[in-house]
């Protein structure tokens, strides 16, 4: 994973901003503060591969600034962009939830700041604040459902 520099999650995206992200929506600032302390951030230039299809995935990513594209079959004749994720969105959760390889590749569309979150980063918080951590799961399920709904519509539109 090529990075152009480490970024302090608290400096670039404080607890208030974390509250604006899809992954952490509805969570309390003091809990988010603890999570932010554990998250590793990276600054990426345009066109950097953040995740590669077919490789193991042990973390999910939150987009602090910038945007990324989700691509299947990168570098093959069947290459296809499935979607884009902008600031405040997240990606990479499918590998984590299913314990499987990355289902697609992810590439930055512009200079971006992206934070990685590993399940072990949440262990302490999960013990102290189980209800708050459940909101992360709910937010992931909601985002997956929305994306499934959108892809179902794309599939249906191309089927008749």
């Amino acid at each position: 994973m090529a990075e152009t520099g480490q970024v302090d999650a608290q400096l670039a995206m404080g607890p208030l901003a974390l509250d604006q992200t899809e992954l952490f929506a509805g969570m309390r600032p003091e809990v988010l503060q603890k999570i932010a302390e554990r998250m590793a951030g990276g600054a990426y230039v345009e066109g950097i591969l953040v995740a590669k299809e077919g490789t193991p995935g042990d973390c999910l990513f939150v987009v602090g600034q910038g945007s990324v594209e989700i691509i299947k079959g990168l570098g093959t004749p069947e290459e296809k962009r499935l979607s884009t994720v902008g600031a405040g969105g997240f990606f990479g959760e499918m590998s984590l939830i299913e314990n499987r390889e990355r289902s697609a590749s992810v590439r930055t569309l512009e200079p971006s700041i992206i934070y990685a979150l590993k399940p072990e980063d949440l262990q302490g918080v999960a013990r102290e604040e189980p209800h708050q951590c459940r909101m992360i799961l709910v937010n992931i399920a909601r985002a997956l459902s929305r994306r499934l709904r959108e892809m179902d519509e794309v599939f249906a539109a191309r089927s008749y």
Partner: protein, 157 residues
């Protein structure tokens, strides 16, 4: 002992024990869910949910098979997926709080167990950690279906 155990294994409990939706949940909690569930039998061809309707329940297929259909009854009708025994449906409206994204039609006679939002809410107060497990299992199911539809969309070009 085995016979005695089986006396207590109602059909709902037997089905719920083997359902991916409830994987990782204790037997006590599964019995509580089974007690809260309602059983319905749908003949082949019957519509169980309609696209666009308000959704307030989660369903587990006992013995049966259903189709997930978009544009039901229109010239643009498309079958998105087929679900079989021990699969679940109805979770998208549950997690998003939005109307049904597709219709569900029984493709053969099917036994369906239903849990209302209300019943799930009550369960979550008694078994918060298993409620989290169910949400995780829902996310895993959604992720698997998203993987499949992503691949199907790419194949269509």
């Amino acid at each position: 002992m085995a016979e005695q155990g089986q006396q207590w294994l109602t059909p709902e409990v037997a089905v719920f024990m083997g359902v991916p939706l409830f994987e990782g949940i204790s037997e006590d909690a599964i019995r509580a869910l089974a007690l809260a569930a309602e059983e319905d039998v749908y003949p082949a061809g019957q519509v169980i949910f309609r696209e666009g309707e308000h959704g307030d329940r989660l369903c587990v297929i006992g013995d049966g098979e259903v189709e997930v259909v978009k544009g039901l009854g229109t010239e643009r009708e498309v079958v998105l997926a087929k679900l079989g025994s021990r699969d679940f449906f109805g979770e998208m409206s549950l997690v998003e709080g939005r109307p049904r994204s597709a219709s569900i039609r029984a493709s053969r006679a099917s036994v369906v167990y239903t849990l209302t939002n209300h019943a799930i809410g009550r369960f979550s107060r008694f078994w918060p950690e298993f409620h989290s497990t169910i949400i995780f299992n829902i996310a895993a199911g959604l992720s698997r279906r998203l993987r499949e539809i992503d691949r199907a969309v790419v194949q269509k070009g």
